[in-house]
């Protein structure tokens, strides 16, 4: 069955440079700089990326950063905790909007 997402498309990411090479090169340079060792280690950055990948629910990013985390020396237990962080923030983000709900409800109610 055909799907919108194709595993092989991850390897075709570079084709996005064809429409605008300048912007693509800037993005690539920025991306490489972001993930280089800085105050945070490459391993820590890969774990953050994995969490974000789950938050934005990008299957390509999940595929790529699962492999990257393993290749930076993280364990499945550590990666699972990173996914829970993403889950907690997503859940918390929904829940905190409840305050808005309460504010509106209070305003409308007698």
């Amino acid at each position: 069955m055909d799907t919108y997402y194709h595993r092989a498309d991850l390897a075709r990411f570079g084709e996005m440079g064809k429409g605008n090479p300048q912007l693509w090169e800037k993005f690539q340079a920025y991306y490489a700089a972001v993930f280089a060792e800085g105050v945070l280690t490459e391993r820590e950055k890969a774990l953050i990326a994995l969490g974000v990948a789950h938050a934005v629910q990008c299957p390509y990013c999940i595929d790529a950063y699962t492999q990257a985390c393993l290749e930076k020396g993280s364990t499945v237990e550590e990666m699972t905790e990173a996914v829970h962080v993403a889950c907690a923030i997503r859940g918390g983000a929904s829940l905190v909007h409840g305050v808005q709900m309460r504010t509106v409800a209070e305003k409308l109610s007698m």
Binding site: E37, E42, R43, Q67, L70, E71, K72, G73, T75
Partner: protein, 345 residues
């Protein structure tokens, strides 16, 4: 305990079948073509600084990734006559380092003799140790023997946690490894100011590349010291080679193609120029000569036309020999590169 490929009657026990699988991988550029593209073919040895002696396939463990297909059910071991030929070759050359591997090399009845002879010749001796062997009742004085002869211990420890280590090396191996490391530390191994060197070896627990060596070494150092009070000198990261039992894992798990593409896409010309086969001569349990331990397991001896057995050892010919390569060589040239001494670049 897992049985070896050989004793399970697996077709992959045959080097020819492994080479057939490696050769039938159209998704990647053939290794030799890749080397040619970067002006690195043909690859030649640049001297011999390490004589790596594989004393046999007998081992007390059956690790899932083992490139030797070693185990307790294997009986191929180097005899004294062949060991003596290795010592004769050393005496006739100035090769500074002897790297003894297996299997569990310590289980070879000639292991201690080999160590004593090589040390008497003034050579630096390394023992590739699986750690658990140090706890066997039959090897009760082994740790002291290694210390007395100042043998460098290169010990396998794929992770500083039990789950990852045991998944690869067998149930209970992590706990035994920690006990053995403590015993080594008690004798001075790995301690600051000591001449007794203890290096650890990490290899990935699956179909992915190893982490950067320096970063992982810091991680191991922190975790082992904090949790177990264990110290060591260096950590070497080694890439899993797509041969033997790891090849079986790749094929059964459906990771073979993806792993080969990962290795080939991460080809690093700088790592390729510094691969260990350029500085190593590998001897098999029966005395056959190879460019490396991996070629040994694939039944690919050194190039024809020169010495191919330790009895015919001739350093002047062997230290400039052409290296035999195949697609598995991508395992040593991916990313930061991989060798028995860890990353290459």
């Amino acid at each position: 305990m897992l049985a070896s490929l050989k004793n399970r009657g697996s077709p992959l026990a045959e080097p020819g079948e492994q080479l057939r699988v490696l050769g039938a991988t159209p998704e990647i550029v053939a290794f030799e073509d890749q080397m040619r593209h970067f002006g690195l073919d043909p690859l030649h040895a640049a001297g011999i600084s390490v004589l790596q002696i594989n004393v046999g396939k007998l081992c007390n463990q059956t690790c899932r990734h083992c490139h030797v297909d070693a185990g307790p059910d294997r009986r191929e071991v180097m005899n004294r006559e062949t060991a003596a030929l290795c010592i004769r070759a050393l005496a006739r050359s100035n090769i500074p380092t002897v790297d003894i591997t297996g299997g569990a090399p310590e289980l070879n009845p000639n292991f201690r003799w080999l160590v004593q002879q090589a040390v008497a010749l003034g050579r630096h001796v390394m023992d590739r140790c699986n750690l658990s062997v140090l706890l066997l009742p039959s090897q009760a004085d082994l740790t002291e023997f290694l210390a007395r002869h100042q043998v460098e211990v290169v010990a396998s420890l794929p992770y500083y946690r039990a789950a990852q280590t045991d998944a690869q090396r067998g149930d209970g191996v992590f706990e035994k490894s920690i006990s053995a490391l403590r015993r080594l530390n008690e004798l001075g191994y790995g301690r600051e100011g000591s001449h007794l060197i203890l290096n650890l070896v990490y290899n990935p627990g699956g179909a992915f590349l190893p982490p950067p060596q320096a970063a992982l070494e810091a991680q191991f150092r922190r975790a082992l010291e904090r949790q177990y009070g264990i110290v060591f000198n260096h950590l070497y990261t080694i890439t899993n080679m797509p041969i033997s039992r790891f090849l079986e894992f790749l094929l059964v798990s459906g990771n073979y193609q993806g792993y080969m593409e990962r290795l080939a896409n991460a080809f690093n010309p700088a790592a390729a120029a510094g691969v260990m086969c350029r500085y190593t001569l590998s001897v098999g349990w029966d005395g056959t000569l190879y460019d490396c331990d991996f070629n040994q397991m694939l039944g690919l001896p050194v190039q024809p036309g020169g010495p191919r057995h330790i009895r015919d050892f001739d350093v002047a010919i062997l230290d400039r020999r052409r290296i035999v390569t195949c697609n598995h060589c991508y395992g040593c040239t991916a990313g930061a590169g991989s060798s028995c001494g860890g990353s290459v670049t």
